[in-house]
C-alpha cells in the first residue's frame, strides 16, 4: 500500500517537473527585475565609480527619498549618484528594466552615466552594445537646470559632437551649414527620460534645483484698504478675459474647425460670449473687498496661510458653473496651470456664491470660490493662469478651444514670510491659539455669561420665587445678549452655521474651521449641551440676539399698551409647523444645491438686524423691521413660526433629559392661568408645557410660586384644598 503511494507520488512529481520545465526560465526572467531602492548599492562597484563620478574619492550610503548616494571629494560633498531604476523605474523597448547609474554634481550637471543593466534587443535594433553605451555618453555635461549657453559660432557648434542634434555632415553639399536638422522621429526616448527626469527628481530633492514654490513671500491676510471693483481691476488684482462670439469662432477656425456649434448659433460676432473675471481672494485687501468681511472671515477661517481662495465670476452666454450633487458646483471648463503643474479643479473645491459684496462690481451671472489647500496646489506668489475650455460640436464630434487668462498677484498683497506663521498646529497649520489669545477678554465675558445662564437654568426654581429679581435678571440678560453678543460681538448663530456643521461632518470635518471663531464655538457647544439637557430654550430663549431684540421690543410695546393679538391655539399650532418645513427644506436644499440653500437662508433677518446692525440694503432692513413689527403684537412671532434655526434646534432637542418646569395637578384642569401668562403660547390647554415651543422665560414658574396669583395656591391658602383635590 505504502509503496503504491510512493510510486504514485514519484510519478506525479515527474509529470509536474516536465510540465513546469518550459515555465521555469520565464519565472527566472521575472525574478531578474531589480528591486527598486537597492540598485545604487547593488551596481556601484569601485570600478564603476570613476566612470559615474570622476574624481570622487568616497561614497556615502544610499539614503533619502529618492535614494541616492552622496559622492565626496576631499571630504566635501561633490554631488550624488543615483540609479534610474530607483527613481523613475524606466523600462526599455523590451518592457524590462533598464538601469543606469548617473552622477550629478551640485550645479545640476550630469558628470557621468553608466548603463549597468538592460535587456534591450540590441542585435535587432542594429546596434552594438558599445553604441548603446556611447549614446549615454552624450549626457555627460548635460545641465538639468534651465541654464542657457551662449552660442558663439552657430552652425558648427550647434552641430558639434556633444550636441544632441546631429553629427556634422562632411559629405553634404556646401550649403550644409544649418541651424537644425529634420529627420524622422527616433525612439531613443526611454534612456533619455530615465537619465534626465531621474536627475531632475534627485536634484530637486537634494536642493540643487529650487523646489517649486519655495518663496520667501506670503499673502498678506491682515492688511485691508477699502477698494472698489474698478481699482482692484486696475492694479491687476482682478484679471479679466472678454470674449465675443467672433473671438471664439475665430479660434475654432484657426484650428481648422470653421463650422462649430457653440452657444447660440444665431449670435452676432459682436455678441458677448463670456466676460470672465478671476481674482485671488486670499489677501485681505482683495478678499474683503470682494466678499465682504463676514464672508471673507467665514471662508478663510481655520485655513493656513498656504491655503488659497480663488474667485471666478462671469457674465455672458457661456456658463461655467454647473449645478452638482452636494454643496459644490462643478467648474469643469476651468483648469489652472502654474509652472510645471496642471491644477485640476475638483467639484468639492468649488462653492457657488449667491452674491458678492464688491463695490461697483459689473453685472455678473455666475460667481464661485475655488479652495486650494497648501502652496503645493497653488503658489500665490508666482504667476499662474486660468484656462477656459470652450466645448463645441463639429457635427457629432466634440471640439475644444482654450483661452488663457494669466494672473499675477500684485506685489502689494504680499508680505515677507520671515516671521513664522502663528502657531501652526497639526495638518491645518492654523493659528487658532493666536485667535483665542487675541479674543481672550471676549471669551472670558462669554464664559462668565454662560456660567451665569447655567446657574439660572439650574436654580430656576429659586429665581422664580422672586418676581422682581426674575424680571431684572431676564431683561438684563436679554439686553446683554442683544447689545454685547449680537451687536458688539456679532456672535449670532444662524441656520447657515447649522448647515455648515452638517456638511463639514458629512465631507471634511476640520477642527481648524471650528476653532477659528471662539465665540461661535462656545455658543454652539453650549447650545448643543443645552439641547440635550433642556431642548432649544437655552439658545432660543436666552442666547439668540434677534430673539432678545424681539422680546425687548415686545416688552416695550406692552409697556406702551400696544394691544397683543391672541392667536387661537389651533391656528398657532398649525403655524408652528412652518418653521420645521423651513428647516427641513433648507437642509434638503443644501444637499442638492448650496446656492439655493444659501438664497433660502435669506429668510433669516439676522444678518440685517444683528450682524450688519440695520446698515444694509433697504429691502433686507425692511424685512427685518416687518418681522419686528409683527413681534410687537405677537410675542416672538419670528421665533415661533418662521425661524428655521429654531425649528432645527427643536427637532434636535426633542429628547432633552430634563423637564424641570413645575406643574400642579390643577394645571389644565381647573386652572388655565399659565396658558395666558405664557407669552408664546407654549402651554397647552391640558396644562402640559410644549418644550418645542418653550423659551424658558420662566414667567409660568414665577406665577407658579406666587402666593398671590397662582390660583391653586390662593385656593389652598383660603382652605379650599379639599376642593382642589376633587376631580372635576
Amino acid at each position: 500500500m505504502a509503496r503504491q503511494w510512493r510510486k504514485a507520488l514519484a510519478l506525479f512529481a515527474l509529470i509536474a517537473c516536465l510540465a513546469a520545465g518550459p515555465a521555469l526560465p520565464a519565472v527566472a526572467a521575472l525574478g531578474e527585475e531589480p528591486r527598486p531602492g537597492e540598485t545604487v548599492t547593488q551596481y556601484l562597484t569601485p570600478e564603476i565609480l570613476p566612470v559615474v563620478f570622476p574624481g570622487a574619492d568616497r561614497i556615502g550610503p544610499a539614503e533619502g527619498m529618492p535614494p541616492a548616494a552622496a559622492a565626496y571629494r576631499d571630504g566635501k560633498t561633490a554631488g550624488y549618484i543615483f540609479s534610474t531604476w530607483d527613481v523613475t523605474q524606466s523600462k526599455g523597448f523590451s518592457n524590462r528594466a533598464i538601469v543606469l547609474l548617473v552622477g550629478l554634481d551640485l550645479k545640476g550637471r550630469i558628470v557621468g552615466v553608466r548603463l549597468v543593466h538592460h535587456s534591450e534587443p540590441i542585435a535587432i535594433l542594429g546596434l552594438k552594445d558599445d553604441a548603446l553605451h556611447a549614446f549615454t555618453q552624450h549626457y555627460i555635461g548635460h545641465d538639468i537646470t534651465t541654464g542657457v549657453d551662449i552660442v558663439s559660432e552657430l552652425s558648427s557648434s550647434v552641430l558639434g559632437a556633444g550636441s544632441f542634434s546631429q553629427r556634422s555632415f562632411p559629405g553634404a553639399e556646401s550649403a550644409a551649414k544649418v541651424d537644425a536638422v529634420s529627420r524622422a522621429t527616433t525612439s531613443s526616448v526611454l534612456m533619455s527620460d530615465a537619465i534626465v527626469r531621474g536627475a531632475r527628481v534627485v536634484a530637486r530633492s537634494r536642493g540643487i534645483l529650487a523646489p517649486v514654490g519655495a518663496g520667501s513671500l506670503r499673502v498678506d491676510v491682515d492688511h485691508f484698504v477699502a477698494s472698489d471693483w474698478a481699482s482692484l481691476a486696475a492694479t491687476g488684482a482682478i484679471a479679466r478675459l472678454r470674449l465675443t462670439y467672433g473671438d471664439v469662432r475665430a479660434k475654432f477656425a484657426e484650428s481648422g474647425e470653421p463650422r462649430v456649434m457653440i452657444g447660440e448659433p444665431s449670435a452676432a460676432p459682436d455678441d458677448l460670449f463670456i466676460d470672465l473675471f478671476v481674482a485671488l481672494a486670499t489677501p485681505a485687501g482683495i478678499g474683503i473687498n470682494l466678499l465682504g468681511e463676514t464672508w471673507y472671515n467665514q471662508y478663510t477661517a481655520g485655513r493656513s496661510f498656504d491655503d488659497q481662495l480663488v474667485l471666478v465670476a462671469a457674465a455672458g452666454a457661456y456658463r461655467i458653473l454647473e449645478g452638482d450633487w452636494g454643496h459644490a458646483a462643478a467648474l469643469s471648463s476651468i483648469e489652472l496651470t502654474q509652472a510645471g503643474n496642471t491644477i485640476h479643479v475638483a467639484g468639492q473645491q468649488v462653492r457657488g456664491l449667491p452674491f458678492l459684496h464688491a463695490k461697483k462690481a459689473p453685472e455678473l451671472s455666475e460667481r464661485a470660490l475655488i479652495f486650494f489647500r497648501g502652496s503645493r496646489e497653488l503658489d500665490p506668489t508666482q504667476p499662474w493662469q486660468l484656462n477656459l475650455l470652450v466645448s463645441g460640436k463639429a457635427g457629432e464630434r466634440p471640439v475644444f478651444a482654450r483661452f488663457a487668462l494669466p494672473y499675477q498677484l500684485p506685489a502689494d498683497y504680499l508680505v515677507k514670510a520671515d516671521e513664522p506663521a502663528p502657531a501652526p498646529s497639526g495638518e491645518d497649520g492654523l493659528g487658532w491659539r493666536t485667535i483665542w489669545q487675541a479674543h481672550l477678554v471676549k471669551i472670558a465675558i462669554l464664559i462668565f455669561a454662560l456660567a451665569a445662564l447655567t446657574l439660572i437654568f439650574v436654580f430656576e426654581d429659586k429665581l422664580s420665587r422672586y418676581r422682581r429679581l426674575h424680571r431684572t435678571v431676564r431683561v438684563a440678560f436679554l439686553s446683554w445678549t442683544l447689545a454685547w453678543l449680537g451687536w458688539y460681538a456679532g456672535a449670532q448663530l444662524t441656520i447657515v452655521n447649522l448647515l455648515t456643521y452638517l456638511h463639514t461632518l458629512a465631507s471634511d470635518f476640520r477642527w481648524g474651521y471650528v476653532l477659528a471663531d471662539p465665540l461661535m464655538l462656545l455658543i454652539s457647544a453650549f447650545t448643543a449641551i443645552g439641547l440635550v439637557l433642556w431642548g432649544r430654550a437655552p439658545f432660543c430663549g436666552w442666547l439668540c440676539p434677534f430673539g432678545a431684540l424681539q422680546e425687548i421690543a415686545n416688552t416695550v410695546a406692552r409697556q406702551l399698551r400696544v394691544p397683543q393679538l391672541e392667536i387661537p391655539a389651533a391656528l398657532g399650532e398649525r403655524l408652528t409647523w412652518l418653521k420645521y418645513a423651513m428647516c427641513l427644506g433648507l437642509v434638503a436644499a443644501s444637499f442638492l444645491s448650496w446656492d439655493v440653500a444659501m438664497a433660502g437662508t435669506e429668510v433669516e433677518p439676522f444678518k440685517a438686524a444683528i450682524i450688519l446692525r440695520f446698515m444694509t440694503a433697504w429691502p433686507m432692513v425692511a424685512y427685518a423691521l416687518a418681522l419686528l413689527a409683527a413681534g410687537l403684537f405677537v410675542e416672538r412671532f419670528y421665533c415661533r413660526f418662521v425661524c428655521p434655526l429654531g425649528g432645527g434646534l427643536a427637532i434636535l432637542g426633542r429628547v432633552h433629559l430634563l423637564k424641570p418646569l413645575k406643574r400642579r395637578p390643577e394645571c389644565g384642569a381647573r386652572c388655565h392661568i399659565c396658558e395666558s401668562v405664557c407669552p408664546v403660547g407654549a402651554i397647552k390647554r391640558s396644562g402640559a408645557i410644549d418644550y418645542n415651543e418653550c423659551f424658558y422665560c420662566l414667567d409660568c414658574q414665577v406665577t407658579h410660586y406666587d402666593q398671590q396669583i397662582c390660583p391653586p395656591l390662593v385656593w389652598r391658602r383660603k382652605g379650599l384644598d379639599a376642593a382642589v383635590e376633587t376631580p372635576r
Binding site: 534587443p121 542634434s165 555632415f169 553634404a172 544649418v178 537644425a180 529634420s182 529627420r183 522621429t185 527626469r197
Partner: protein, 353 residues
C-alpha cells in the same frame, strides 16, 4: 522702460563729463546697445532630445523664458508620455477610461479625431495595440521570425484599432473596448513644440528656433542679419546627407519616415502603421510637412506617410497653408500643396494666441 531712461541719462552724463575714460565709455556704449545674443538650451521633451535656440539681449531673461518652457514640457509629459506610468495617457490605456482629463489632453484628442476624420483613418491614435503586438513579437523573443506577427494576431489587434470608438468628454475619456490603447507619439511632440513657441512669444522672444525630438522644428522670426533659419532635411536613403536645405521663418516643419524607429534590420517593419492593414506603411520613404503649427505638421506628416496617393491629395487640399514634400521609394521627390508654390520656404504670420 526705466532701463532705457537710465541708460540715456547715463549717456548724457558721460557727454557732460566729457571724455571720462575710454574704457568707461565703451562699457556704457556696449550696454546701451544691448546686442542680441544667440542662446541655446538643450534638454529633453517627451523623452527625446530637445533644443531651443533664441536671440535675446539678456541672459537672465532668456534663462527665465526657457525655465517656463521646461516647466511646460514637464507638465505636458505628465499628460502625453506613454513611457511614464503616471501619465494621463498611460492611465487611460491601463484603465480604459480617464476621469477629469486635462484640457491639453482633450485638445489633442479632439485634434487627433479631426485629423482621423479628414484622413479617413490614415491617421489614427488608437494604433497602440499594433505597437504592442509588434514590440512583443520583435523585442521579447530571442529569435523573432523576420516576417513579423501572424496574420491572425494582426487581425485580432486590428479589431481594437478604431478612432471612432473613443469617447471624448470634458468629464470622461473612454475607450469603448478593453484592450484598446492610444498613442499620441504621432502628434504630441508637435503640440509641445507649439506650446513652447507660444510661451516664448508671450515672453517677448521674437527670434526662436525650437527643435523638439529632432523631427518637430518650429521657427519664429529669423537671424538678426535677416537670414532665415536654415533647416537640413535628412535624405532617408543616406541619413548622413541632406536631401534639401530650406529656409524657415514663421512656421513648423516635421518629417515622418519609417526609417526612424525600426523593428528589424531590413527596416520593413517600423513604427508607422497602416491602421487599416495592420502592417507598417511602406509606400513612401519619408514625408516632410511645412505648416503654420507644429501640431498640424506633426500629425499631417504621419497621416500623409500612411495615406493612399488619392487620400493624400484630398487631405492636403483641406489645409490651405500647408506644403508637403514626399520622398517616394525610388528617391523621387514630389511636392504637394493645396495652393501650389515652393516647398523651399514658408513665410506665414502666425496669429496671436
Amino acid at each position: 522702460m526705466s532701463e532705457t531712461v537710465r541708460q540715456i541719462s547715463r549717456r548724457r552724463a558721460l557727454v557732460m563729463l566729457g571724455m571720462a575714460g575710454g574704457a568707461a565709455f565703451l562699457c556704457a556704449g556696449d550696454r546701451a546697445r544691448r546686442p542680441l545674443r544667440l542662446y541655446r538650451w538643450e534638454g529633453t521633451s517627451l523623452g527625446s532630445p530637445a533644443r531651443v535656440l533664441l536671440y535675446h539681449t539678456d541672459r537672465e531673461a532668456a534663462a527665465q523664458a526657457i525655465g517656463r518652457c521646461v516647466a511646460e514640457i514637464e507638465r505636458l509629459e505628465r499628460s502625453f508620455a506613454l513611457y511614464r506610468e503616471d501619465s494621463e495617457i498611460a492611465r487611460l490605456n491601463r484603465e480604459g477610461r480617464l476621469a477629469a482629463p486635462s484640457q491639453d489632453l482633450l485638445l489633442l484628442l479632439s485634434r487627433s479625431a479631426q485629423l482621423s476624420g479628414l484622413s479617413e483613418g490614415a491617421f489614427d491614435i488608437t494604433v497602440q495595440p499594433l505597437w504592442t503586438l509588434y514590440a512583443r513579437h520583435f523585442f521579447a523573443m530571442a529569435m523573432p521570425p523576420a516576417e513579423g506577427p501572424s496574420r491572425r494576431a494582426i487581425d485580432d489587434a486590428l479589431k481594437l484599432v478604431s478612432w471612432r470608438d473613443m469617447e471624448i468628454g470634458t468629464r470622461l475619456v473612454r475607450l469603448a473596448r478593453p484592450g484598446m490603447g492610444v498613442t499620441l507619439n504621432g502628434i504630441a511632440q508637435g503640440y509641445v513644440t507649439d506650446r513652447v513657441t507660444e510661451i516664448l512669444r508671450g515672453q517677448g522672444c521674437e527670434r526662436v528656433l525650437a527643435d523638439l525630438g529632432r523631427s518637430e522644428i518650429e521657427a519664429m522670426g529669423a537671424h538678426p542679419d535677416g537670414l532665415a533659419w536654415r533647416i537640413g532635411l535628412v535624405d532617408p536613403r543616406r541619413p548622413e546627407a541632406f536631401a534639401r536645405v530650406l529656409d524657415l521663418r514663421d512656421g513648423a516643419l516635421c518629417t515622418s519616415g519609417g526609417y526612424g524607429t525600426i523593428f528589424e534590420p531590413s527596416g520593413r517593419h517600423h513604427h508607422l502603421f497602416d491602421p487599416k492593414r495592420g502592417v507598417s506603411a511602406n509606400r513612401l520613404l519619408a514625408v516632410s510637412v511645412l505648416a503654420p503649427s507644429a501640431t498640424v505638421a506633426d500629425g499631417l506628416s504621419t497621416a500623409l506617410y500612411v495615406a493612399s496617393p488619392e487620400r493624400a491629395r484630398a487631405l492636403i487640399a483641406s489645409f490651405p497653408a500647408v506644403r508637403a514634400l514626399i520622398t517616394h521609394r525610388d528617391g523621387e521627390m514630389e511636392e504637394l500643396s493645396a495652393a501650389g508654390g515652393d516647398f523651399d520656404s514658408i513665410v506665414k504670420p502666425k496669429s496671436k494666441v
